[in-house]
Amino acid sequence: MKIETYEKAYLALGGVTLTAALLVLLYTSVGMDLHLPTRVAEVDPATVRTTPPFDQPGLRQTGPGQYEAVMLGQAWAFLPQEIRVPVGAEVTFVATSPDVIHGLLVAGTRVNLMLIPGQVSRQTYTFRRPGEYAIICHEYCGLGHQGMVGRVIVE
């Protein structure tokens, strides 16, 4: 019957499309070196404020054009509140939370991290456009959640 032929062709086309999309994703990950956060390290949220490197949140240069931004997201602020880097800087965000779950989104970039108490989040991003980027907490963390904001200044 005709409809069964259509059905098979449609499902085959669907399967091929899904597989093709997966291959593109594989390429973005392996070929373009874009990665998701992974298991990095554990900390104790009770003592994290006195545990290196989180005892001194801030920006450190780790190489030519390379920086590490150690950050704490806590109710309801980021420490540090502001980061200044030159255009083209490759910044590795290393962050965690001492209290509840927070988010760390650098608006307009693919820096998008959950900050979970006890876990260290890490993501690297190269800032190629100059300007001011908001660092937004994008996970509900209590009454003051909407005020939790920092910024990255690329100059």
Binding site: I3, Y6, E7, Y10, L11, G14, G15, L18, A21, L22, L25, T28, S29, L34, H35, L36, P37, T38, R39, V40, E42, D44, P45, A46, A75, T96, D99, V100, I101, G103, L105, A107, G108, R110, V111, N112, L113, M114, L115, I116, P117, G118, Q119, V120, S121, R122, A134, I136, C137, H138, E139, Y140, C141, G142, L143, H145, Q146, G147, M148, V149
Partner: protein
């Protein structure tokens, strides 16, 4: 060779007492739908920088209201509907009454659960949103109430399985009628999927909220258990809608369903693939390896496949209906579909919106692309087109025949009902367009934008569309409520549909070959468990639980 999807197409009526309790169970759902949309409106308007919360009589807190909206509309509405709808479908398909005490117990557990949850939310002891991420800590009544809602779904499944077991005992060697099969498999999938969240709530969050474990909790573990259930839960909401699309909608459109075996295969694929996909909600989480996330990503693409098959089957059934009604040419059949039937129209509009919901969902699952949109308003833009329309508008459409069927009162206000569905659809498309575009520009979800310490001018258009679309959706659902209320009050007695819309299939189920194996649901459950273990064991074997976080009540 066409075949029935129920055991006895001639008809079957449930005992009145069972009908009454199923009706009340479903009323809790529609009640929750209406209760939740006021905060839905407030949320939508807040993205347009308008704050109407000060005018509310109670629950003026934004996050308190967002919790109420989420719990009422995605947890209570969906499961209350399914607790009534799926047992009703099973009983009708098998021409057997349900087990009365289980019908009452399902209703009782749901009601008690709701009382506890409403208490916790209204007294502002549970403004943790429906995801309830620890270490934000809610009152024990919140967690316990939600557990009772889940228990009510188990009781409903127990009822369906008992009835099915009795039917099989009397009909050895026969295939399970399709409508019963897909109804049961839907809730079997959910029962399996609900186990991690049961462990999470019963084993961790409830004791913790009562002071156990030294008052400490493991945030990553509880979050992972939540999402272990949390993706399959969306299929638990969706599959009852699919039951209607496969087994009832073809009849309503004057068509037939093409294939019995393909329909069963689709539901088995959902049973197998819905659960081992949860890490795609945790792509941006620390503490979970990238390889495991990738594996879940591939399986999430896999679970898209049965939905593709569904699109084909359902549209084919509609086309057959349209052609039987005189439709000609490539698209002429669309025009000839019964566009005056509010039940069918609501569900067809739900399907149209679901196309966009499905595509945006695939983007969510797309690994690196997810980093652009995770926790932005893109995500609620997406799920208001899936659970918020494909599911909700289907449940609305089903109400237009099911409430008359269960109450004996004919539907009041056919035109109002049609207007409700069209308004809602137009509204949600505007709303989702706003949320999705603003989300791509980085507007965070779950954030009280009116008081935000930041606001990008780029978000103004998206925020305004969100507010406009949300308002239209709100009016649409209010009209639905008017139709339901008037039907119950003044609907004409005795003019109701006397049976559910029963579809036939072109390809009948086979008694030989591989097909009868599809009916061995228990074996498929074992296969599903095996796949779940493969997908989740690498995490649980390498993660030692750490009770490290005290509870925080920051609301």
């Amino acid at each position: 060779m066409s075949a029935a999807t129920v055991y006895d197409p001639a008809g079957f009526a449930l005992p009145d007492a069972q009908k009454r309790f199923l009706r009340w169970t479903i009323y809790i759902g529609y009640g929750a739908l209406v209760a939740g949309i006021f905060h839905g409106l407030a949320n939508a308007l807040s993205f347009a920088n308008i704050n109407i919360l000060p005018y509310f009589p109670r629950l003026r807190g934004y996050y308190q209201g967002l919790t109420a909206h989420g719990v009422a509309n995605v947890l209570v509405f969906t499961f209350a509907f399914s607790n009534g709808f799926l047992p009703l479908m099973t009983a009708r398909a098998l021409s057997r009454p349900l087990v009365s005490w289980l019908v009452y117990a399902t209703f009782g557990a749901l009601l008690l659960g709701n009382i506890l949850v409403v208490y916790a939310i209204v007294t502002n002891q549970a403004s943790v949103l429906f995801t309830a991420y620890a270490p934000l800590q809610a009152h024990w009544t919140f967690y316990t109430g939600l557990v009772l809602v889940v228990v009510s779904t188990w009781l409903a499944l127990g009822n369906m399985l008992t009835v099915l077991g009795r039917w099989k005992r009397d009909h050895r060697g026969e295939r399970i009628p399709l409508l019963a099969y897909i109804s049961v498999v839907s809730y079997v999938m959910w029962a399996l999927a609900s186990l991690p969240i049961a462990v999470d709530f019963l084993g961790l969050l409830i004791p913790w909220s009562l002071g156990a474990f030294g008052g400490l909790v493991d945030p990553l573990l509880t979050r992972t258990l939540f999402w272990f259930t949390g993706h399959a839960i969306v299929y638990a909401w969706l599959l009852p809608a699919y039951v209607s699309w496969y087994a009832l909608v073809p009849r309503q459109a004057g068509g037939v369903l093409v294939s019995d075996p393909l329909t069963r295969v689709v539901f088995i694929l959902f049973l197998l693939l819905s659960i081992p996909t949860g890490f795609h909600h945790q792509y941006t989480d620390p503490g979970i390896s990238e390889q495991m996330k990738a594996f879940h990503g591939v399986l999430t693409f896999g679970v898209f496949f049965p939905s593709l098959a569904t699109a084909f089957s359902v549209v084919a059934a509609l086309e057959i209906g349209g052609r039987r009604r005189g439709g000609r040419g490539l698209l002429g059949w669309v025009v000839r579909l019964p566009w005056g039937d509010p039940s069918l129209v609501a569900q067809m509009l739900a399907m149209v919106v679901f196309v966009f919901g499905g595509i945006t969902g695939l983007i969510n699952a797309s690994f690196t692309m997810n980093q652009i949109i995770h926790n932005t308003t893109w995500v609620p833009g997406h799920f208001h087109m899936t659970v918020g329309t494909a599911v909700a508008l289907t449940f609305v459409g089903v109400a237009y025949w099911m409430i008359p069927y269960l109450t004996g009162r004919a539907l009041w206000g056919r035109r109002v009902a049609l207007a409700s569905s069209w308004l809602y659809t137009i509204g949600v498309l505007i709303f989702a367009r706003g949320m999705i575009s603003a989300g791509l520009q980085g507007m965070p979800r779950r954030t009280f934008q009116v008081q935000a310490g930041y606001r990008s001018p780029e978000w103004e258009l998206g925020g305004a569309l969100t507010g406009i679309g949300g308002t239209i959706m709100f009016i649409g659902i209010l009209l639905f409520f008017v139709v339901m209320g008037m039907t119950l009050l003044v609907g004409k007695k005795g003019a109701e549909p006397k049976d559910i819309p029963v579809t036939r299939t072109i390809t009948a189920p086979s008694l030989t070959g591989w097909q009868p194996h599809l009916d061995r649901i228990g074996l498929w459950v074992i296969a599903a468990i095996a796949l779940v273990l493969i997908a989740y064991m690498p995490f649980f074997l390498t993660y030692a639980p750490r009770f490290i976080s005290p509870g925080f009540k920051l609301f």
